[in-house]
Assembly symmetry: C2
Homo-oligomer: 121 residues x 2
Amino acid sequence: MSKLLALEDVTAPVCCAPLSGPALSEAEAAELAKVFKALSDPVRLRLLNLIASAEGGEACVCDLTGPFDLTAPTISHHLKVLRQAGLIESERRGTWVYYRVVPDRLTRLSGLFALPALAPA
Amino acid sequence: MSKLLALEDVTAPVCCAPLSGPALSEAEAAELAKVFKALSDPVRLRLLNLIASAEGGEACVCDLTGPFDLTAPTISHHLKVLRQAGLIESERRGTWVYYRVVPDRLTRLSGLFALPALAPA
């Protein structure tokens, strides 16, 4: 949890600034690079897609292993990487763990690639 | 160049669909993962930031080495990775090579993280 909080803290300053905006500091770039490293795996992208598109905004871990030809521990590892990058959060209710995206984090990434300041040359 | 075109072709179908939308195919996820791998390096993120925020929308390679404590060949390598991921394009004019972002690619990534379909649970 402290890892997640540390990541949140450091990336907070880059919040909604697009890449076409102010200069990224070395520290901001290093933290953002970690988030993109979490996204640089096809299974993790498909898991994030399944969670983001799940009905009611959350997905039971019991529904996240079926689509993959992978063991439950491997899926759990990928979910942990996404969670540590602050992209998803989890909650245990009874037997199962439920995952949902962290909208704030996804909105920040969306804003990063927005190009409001780019005018035709 | 063929590598760049191949990447464009494969990612085209995921165009503007957000992660909260239709299911990503394995092929789409694999191609997207490559783009995020290109972004998972702090130097490349800062280069992309410098290029995206450059006056007139383009940056001379001669202005891209100064901010880093790295050799010109290392910077060239990082620029090549960004170019192969379809994030920037380059043009030689006289002595120097000039880089600009590919707005369409950045807009696609922005759309990927948009959350239009997410309603509060």
